[in-house]
Symmetry: C2
Subunit: 198 residues, 2 copies
Amino acid sequence: MQERRSNQNRRQETRRALIKAARALFLEKGYAATGTPEVVARAGLTRGALYHHFKDKQALFLAVVEAEAAQIAAEIEAGSADAQTPLAALNDGARAYFAAMRAPGRIRLMLLEGPATLSPETMRRIDLETGGRELRLGIAEALGGAATVGRVDALADLVSAMFDRAALAIEGGADAPLYEATVRDLLAALVGPAPGTR
Amino acid sequence: MQERRSNQNRRQETRRALIKAARALFLEKGYAATGTPEVVARAGLTRGALYHHFKDKQALFLAVVEAEAAQIAAEIEAGSADAQTPLAALNDGARAYFAAMRAPGRIRLMLLEGPATLSPETMRRIDLETGGRELRLGIAEALGGAATVGRVDALADLVSAMFDRAALAIEGGADAPLYEATVRDLLAALVGPAPGTR
DNA sequence: TTGCATACATACAGCCTGTATGTTAATTCA
DNA sequence: TGAATTAACATACAGGCTGTATGTATGCAA
């Protein structure tokens, strides 16, 4: 009664099982507190399989973070698809981002351990490959082409930092509506110092 | 030929030696890559001494981070002491902060591993106990009492996040003048949407 | 000076990571 | 089709690190 599986399928399934198990544990206990023996036990495999598919524990962590980033990006896109104006899209995106970041463990994974363990550059790359473009485009559009590319990038980076900090503060028990409103106001002030936003 | 030292002095000196050695290694190689054997070797002590003075490796790390925060706060205060207006003080403070963060390893220590290893709440507490008040006061003053306390806190937090991200980006090779200018403009827009800043 | 507490040093147990080696199943190729 | 090769794992091992338990000497207090 042996299951007959192609190597390709086998490989794919094993990788997924490892990433899934690791994701659950990294979200629950964090990177350092999660041992590879625990991961493979949960996946019903052995450490041999893990180190066959991933160079080291960090590579597994990277795979988990990339998958999570894609998931978060999808949630944000779903939440900001039908906005009328660029500013509205930014606001909807911000709301969706905060909602997505409420998932347990995500903040530690994506905002704390990710940068510390993988490097900010890696996180930035992942962000740009997944959801970060949206923000950059939104800001560029909202600024109406009145800014250089470099400036848009810098602004998007700084705004993204504010989003992250707001999410962090909210998880830490801060006044969520206050932070979200403050972010909204900053966005409005930043993007269009013209209309009567105040 | 025995040195005759009081227990109080002995204790103080040992603690300092441990923190100094740990600081050097944490700055150079990071928290996870630094082992306690290496720390005590550098300090000319043994692990027994370390675990006598600190509950665990994290407690030593906390001591290092607190000391470093105090040092950074001092550098910032020295660099922004003689500003004329609140906005000028904020700008000088920002400049001094960026300068302070250029010290090798500081960004990893204070912005990456600190939050990840100790928790953002702890880092926030340390920040408020050392340099963070300055920023809050500066923003409150610049806003001219037109905002609630909670709002000032949130704003200060978000602005501080921008500072951090800018420092991070600059260390990562980003265009430093561009980032610093963008931060300055954001500060100006935030504080006084009145003057002809553009 | 006698007894206790403090400041360390030494020794040990447990865990974890990464690698080396072994085994089985799939794929390739003659 | 069947032998050889390689991929996909499992098992076993070495080294290092953390935290604790235990031992020792020195300061301190009565």
